[in-house]
Amino acid sequence: VAVGQCGNQVGCRFWDLALREHAAVNKKGIYDEALSSFFRNVDTRSGGDGRDISKGKICSLKARALLIDMEEGVVNEILQGPLRDVFDSKQLITDVSGSGNNWAVGHKVYGCQYRENIVEKLRKTAEHCDCLQCFFIIHSMGGGTGSGLGTFVLNLLEDEFPEVYRFVTSVYPSGEDDVITSPYNSVLAMKELNEHADCVLPIENESLFDIVNKIQQMVNSGKLGSVVKPNSLLTSSASSTKTVQQKPFDSMNNIIANLLLNLTSSARFEGSLNMDLNEISMNLVPFPQLHYLVSSLTPLYTLADVNVPSRRLDQMFSDAFSRDHQLLKADPKHSLYLACALLVRGNVQVSDLRRNIERLKPSLNFVSWNQEGWKTGLCSVPPVGHSHSLLALANNTCVKPTFMELKDRFMRLYKKKAHLHHYLHIDGMEQSCFSEAISSLSDLIEEYNELDATKSGPGIDPARLKIAV
């Protein structure tokens, strides 16, 4: 479910790259289990909305998606672009006037107005699934639609489909965000994420921007022996081989798209140690409120030279823990790990995984009750353009500074009651919405504080049960 401008722009990149990935793997054009995780196979010969074809040749692939925006521009552009046949009109919910960067408009006004419409369309898409395991919501936190209506949809999903996992990819505003009210929108949305999401993958534009620059530098450096394979860039689009033609946020959004593809790779493709989405939630969320996962993707690109030693494999593991590769401005290496997951794709075996865990473990701090808290997955199918890749997900106290900064920016506005009236005059909004939201964020920060306090402790193991001999 893509909500708002950011959500839909990212969503568009996701579907583009998903098609590319499946096309690279699925040479025979047969509709298989892997494809069915994200796409329906529809018989469009009779025109209109045909039946679903569950086996056999691919007829027409339709994304299992809902595109929601309170402005028309972005969605219209998608429908006129190369992906137009992947969506049908029943998957879209649009309006004209937008949410004015106001969480309350998105959540209360449009939420109320479009509730039934959204529920109905969700039900329809769910009915087309044999077995629905997970919802992905893609949105940004700083605006009005993605933030407000997006979290409204999150609530709806919990009410209507309580058994289905809710993974949320949230783009957080960076420090120099040009939307003045983004702290309000973000904190109001955070409360919803705290209470209704199973897992949140927070992402910062600033991090994506830095990664894009790093890749650009590599591509343009022209160093001898460092020619990069164009389609292997974490930032490259499927459709265009020349990066010049991409739209401004495309490179950054491709990174998020790749994140989602790697996250779901082991659920879609085979491997020697499968890792499903419910396993990610199970292993990485030790306490219900602490469900924010910092992600990193490596490698950023592949060199064209095939003769690379396996040292590069180990480098991939090291990079996953470096500050530069995180999709959030955070440094997990110098904070406390509650849990860590490594999802490897391609020609990597269990011994490579073990060797690197042994190698990297001593430099990482794990909480005392989870000293060996590693969740691992091995998927045989690498991403397009690579021979192997790694997605690391960390439940780590390094998210705390991000949340604390958010709280500070919020308080700076709130103390002066700046722009508050825009929110309070919306039906259903009261001062208490704000105080509850900031209180929820404060509580979350406090949880991380308490964990950090245990970091330097002596860590005495609790006494074991005594049995009468």
Binding site: E33, D130, E270, N283, P288, R464
Partner: protein, 453 residues
Amino acid sequence: MSIITVQLGQCGNQIGHEVFNAICSDVHGKHGLCSKKENESYQDTCKERFFSEEKDGVPVARAVLVDMEPKVISQTLAVAARTGYWKYDEQSYFCQKRGSGNNWANGYSAHGPKHKDVIMNLIQKEAEKCDRLSGFVIIMSMAGGTGSGLGAFVTQCLRDAFPNSSILNHVIWPYGTGEVIVQNYNSILTLSHLYRSSDALLVHENDVVHKICAQLLNIKQISFKDVNQVIAHQLGSVFQPVYTAESALHYSRSPLGDLMEALVPHPEFKMLGLRNIPQIPENSLAYSTFSWPGLIKHLRQMLIANATMEEGIDWQVRPPCPGSSIPSRHSTSKPLHFNTSIANLVILRGKDIHSADTGSFQDPALYTSWLTPQDVFNLWKTPRAFNKYEKSAALVSNSQFLLKPLDKLVGKAWNMFASKAYIHQYTKYGIEEDDFLDSFTALEQVISSYTTL
């Protein structure tokens, strides 16, 4: 008599597949090194034990495949059929789509009851194909959700439905440095539950097998397939036909029953470890010769010193002299150098078997004081060589082999439990803190029993 294999979860299915591969390749191998008559008898017994006949002549494995997600089973069925030497019954599987999420409670409390009838029906159908049923081998891991939780549930159901059959659980102990973060919780819940319904738990530790691949087999980039093939080889060395001491005229008719009788004299002691030597890279086999005295000597020292493979055995460890004070009741924090046994089974396969002397295994000093070696040492053998090894020796031991790993496991799980981390994921499916406490209590009891041997 036949054995039905129940393969549960990704691990169980991947291993089960390699086991049937190993058995089949052993049977068709030209390295039997025995008389034609002997070989034929071996092949017939093996076929009856593990396969049923199909009209097209391709043997069908006596197996039921269960998984809560579809990818592994569909791969396993396809790859087996492609060999042309054997296959699975295309109907004999059950899978779902959602997986168990590495959640023992999901496997045990949700999937178990929901799919009990379907799964038990499949097993019943396999049972009906057998003339005589020796029992069940259930292959499962402890770390995940399906093998562990659903495995524990299915074992319980099997015990209820087949009260007179032997049930052996082949359990995979996960890598110490995590494959799954909640693996310690899943493991203690599994072990405590299995202890109630299973006859014995035959354990393979991933860390140990990994070392064998690295140091003995010299494999550079070790994959799970490599690990599983070693495990399959070791299991084959136990389950392939042998002559048990009593009936030297025909191969043992009741392999599982005999195994239980030999190794589990007391229900408090069910943890079985497995050692198999030699293990060398296949391309070195032609250049290596082994002697029975050498193999037996190594195997005995591996038992005494608790060595997991033939390299790095500590030869300084000796059994306590009779008459000297028996080592006092150690607390589990002190390292236990000498491995005391409850019962041992040695299985020898290959050339010149009549010259093999296992008298050293009957030394009373090896065993706990309340048992005599005549009762608890067993030797099985066959002149028919196994899987290209001219001579091979296996030791199945009910001893303190698994005491340290078990103690470590319970310690880590307890440490995590004290912080209540992840508990909400289990209570969601009805497994409460009390259930955890029951499991901890049960396992501390097992640890205590093995410690005071």
